[in-house]
């Protein structure tokens, strides 16, 4: 009897706690910022742009032919998170990745010409030393995964929609 009452009490408390805990999840307005449109006509080859999406930076890089080549010309065997460059882009000139290090979430350097691009010509995370290549793939350091590719689509040749 005491067990039954206790069990009922516990279930009741759990049900009462659920809305309290659930209220801590992202609110509707936070979720509503879920997509952005970006004009990419002003990014010359070799340059990059950073935009905010869901409170996180997204790197849009207009890659040069050399950068594309170095991204494609990689032995998959040497990769930590094995992905071809093809799987990561829609058009080879444009690389779109979430600019959040997959280790513990710092923003890697490498968007500006003068930044440290690491040994693989892409991005370098100064927090714990992760290095990414020109496809945003993790090549060295503690991060376990490649920079994530967000869902996006080309609305036209000069405009993309992220989210």
């Amino acid at each position: 009897m005491a067990l039954l009452a206790g069990a009922f009490g516990a279930v009741g408390a759990a049900i009462a706690a659920f809305p309290l805990i659930n209220s801590l999840n992202p609110a509707k307005d936070t979720l509503a910022m879920a997509s952005v449109e970006v004009d990419i006509s002003d990014i010359p080859a070799g340059a990059a742009k950073t935009v905010m999406w869901r409170g996180k930076p997204v790197f849009i890089r207009h890659r040069t032919p050399e950068q594309i080549e170095s991204a494609e010309d990689v032995n998959l065997q040497n990769l930590i998170d094995k992905q071809t460059d093809e799987e990561r882009v829609k058009k080879p000139e444009w690389l779109v990745v979430v600019g959040v290090c997959t280790h513990l979430g710092c923003v890697p350097q490498g968007q500006k010409e003068s930044d440290n691009h690491g040994e693989f010509g892409g991005w370098f995370c100064s927090c714990h030393g992760s290095q990414y290549d020109t496809s945003g793939r993790i090549r060295k350091g503690p991060a376990p995964k490649n920079l994530a590719v967000p869902p996006y689509q080309f609305l036209s040749d000069t405009k993309i929609k992220i989210g």
């Binding site: 805990i21 801590l24 999840n25 992202p26 609110a27 936070t30 950073t50 905010m52 869901r54 409170g55 996180k56 930076p57 040497n78 930590i80 998170d81 094995k82 959040v100 280790h103 513990l104 979430g105 710092c106 923003v107 890697p108 350097q109 995370c125 100064s126 927090c127 714990h128 030393g129 060295k140 503690p142 376990p144």
Partner: protein, 509 residues
């Protein structure tokens, strides 16, 4: 504490209250005549000092909260306003800011005292666990407080720390989103951290109450680590220890004031005077100094633990339990133990080398053919790839960090030696002081960039060695010492020890 015999008080007002609610009787009993061992040294001051710091933090915190605005657009400016415009605001903030550091200093010394003199042993286990809980709550409170001024370190510290949770397989990302209330550290995060930063100190207060309750049931330990045997071993708490505590507190406060008035920012980080910017991570993120040793343990695990490594570890753990924790092995014969040791060691080595091969520069491997062959062979074993490792480097680091705090909670069952005080345990004293040194070394490692080195040795190795010693101390050394350490003869009683010391001093004079 309520219904016992009660001595009437002289003062009529006090008596009127006390006869209805015997609060003065209780105070008298717990803080007035409360018998305390008569041989306390100055290490026994730090409990009272910590209590004072908690009160200081709550008092200054409540005033700060009256001027502070928990909103990402306004938080940084509201703190600057406290610094410039609010009357004496700079002072209140500096007291609070440095107060967190000095609270931790007091508590670290308090914990050190407990470990050196064996205060966690029977019958004070629960008292000790409540203390460890207070320490854990303090860490959470200080972490959330540091986010409030919304500087660069606030934002990125919070990002990295909540990033730990993404290490948990499958549900990690959702847990992080739940904690943050969004997909990154943003306004919802700041507002909830403020609410919790306000709440937790009061929870700490409640646990401190339980801690002191437990203390007043068992009574205090003392530098000799032997039980009090009667009135000749003790002194009434008031005035003897109220005065000694006040004296120690005043010295402590003088040092605290030097920091508040002459170097208020030396313990903090200049980056936190730059407003938080979600697009730029500061070049060198470090937590507050009091977290550094734990941060070093987090970063010490740079390798993935694949199945080979984990099975090897499990073998070692079984061996520790069978041959070190137990007086006599129950399941294993000596030869089976040796076999397991060899196999376990081999598995750990195989798993570790195989995993490390993935991070070696391919060019270097090409030049060193022998290693290339070995790595190639190891890599071709099933389950050796980083992706197949059940415990990634990231998860391993997080487990090690939480595990290192967890050690405090189980300490009373790891060290079961009947003698408490390190004064009579020469080996324990040696290994414990070495632990303290290692802890400081870990703190240094945690303060440096991840790829730094000292005298040509990469600091990660130093971090790994420190981490290894830390866990080895608790899981292997303490149980071994509990069984085999021979102690020096204990004095018969506190009274006698104090007397013989006095006689020695008099003889010298």
């Amino acid at each position: 504490m309520a219904s016992g015999e009660r001595e009437p008080f002289q003062n009529t007002v006090v008596e009127w209250i006390d006869s209805r609610m015997p609060i003065f009787t209780m105070l008298q009993k717990e803080y007035g005549v409360f018998p305390a061992p008569k041989n306390f040294n100055y290490f026994w001051n730090f409990g009272a000092i910590a209590m004072f710091m908690l009160a200081t933090m709550i008092a200054t915190g409540i005033v700060l909260a009256m001027h502070y605005t928990a909103n990402t657009h306004m938080a940084f400016d509201s703190v600057e306003r406290i610094m410039r415009d609010v009357n004496g605001g700079w002072l209140i903030r500096y007291i609070h800011m440095n107060g967190a550091s000095f609270f931790f200093i007091a508590v670290y010394i308090h914990i050190f005292r407990g470990m050196y003199y064996g205060s966690y042993k029977k019958p004070r286990e629960l008292l000790w666990i409540l203390g460890a809980l207070i320490f854990l709550l303090m860490m959470a409170t200080a972490f959330m407080g540091y986010v409030l001024p919304w500087g660069q370190m606030s934002l990125w510290g919070a990002t990295v720390i909540t990033g730990f949770f993404t290490a948990i397989p499958y549900v990690g990302e959702s847990i992080q989103t739940l904690l943050l209330g969004g997909f990154s550290v943003e306004n919802p995060t700041l507002t909830r951290f403020f609410a919790l930063h306000y709440l937790l100190p009061f929870v700490i207060f409640a646990v401190v109450f339980l801690h002191i309750w437990a203390l007043h049931v068992t009574g205090s330990n003392n530098p000799l680590g032997i039980d009090t045997k009667g009135p000749q071993d003790t002194l009434p708490f008031h005035p003897y220890y109220t005065v000694k505590d006040t004296f120690g507190l005043l010295v402590f406060l003088m040092i605290y004031c030097v920091f508040i008035f002459f170097m208020p920012d030396i313990l903090g980080h200049p980056d936190n005077y730059t407003k938080a910017n979600p697009l730029v991570t500061p070049a060198h993120i470090v937590p507050e100094w009091y977290f550094l040793p734990f941060y070093a343990i987090l970063r010490a695990i740079t390798f993935n633990m694949n199945l080979y490594f984990i099975v090897g570890l499990v073998f070692l753990f079984v061996l520790i339990v069978e041959f070190i924790w137990r007086k006599k092995p129950v399941y294993l014969s000596a030869s089976a133990g040796w076999a397991m040791l060899v196999i376990g060691g081999f598995l750990i080595l195989t798993g570790f080398t195989g995993d490390s091969c993935q991070r070696i520069d391919p060019k270097w491997l090409d030049e060193n053919g022998g290693f290339k062959g070995l790595c190639g062979a190891l890599q071709s074993l099933p389950g050796m790839s980083a992706a197949a490792a059940p415990i990634s480097a990231k998860l391993g680091g997080v487990l090690a960090m939480f595990g290192s705090v967890a050690m405090l909670f189980v300490l009373p069952w790891l060290d079961t030696h009947p003698v408490r005080s390190a004064r009579y345990r020469p080996l324990y004293k040696l290994f414990f002081l070495l632990l303290v040194v290692m802890f400081l070394v870990l703190g240094y490692v945690g303060s440096q960039p991840a790829d730094a080195s000292l005298l040509g040795i990469p600091l990660i190795y130093l971090g790994l060695a420190g981490t290894g010693y830390y866990f080895g101390y608790f899981l292997v050394l303490l149980p071994l010492l509990s069984r085999f350490e021979k102690t020096k003869p204990l004095p018969e009683s506190i009274h006698q020890a104090v007397l013989s010391k006095q006689i020695k001093v008099e003889a010298k004079i």
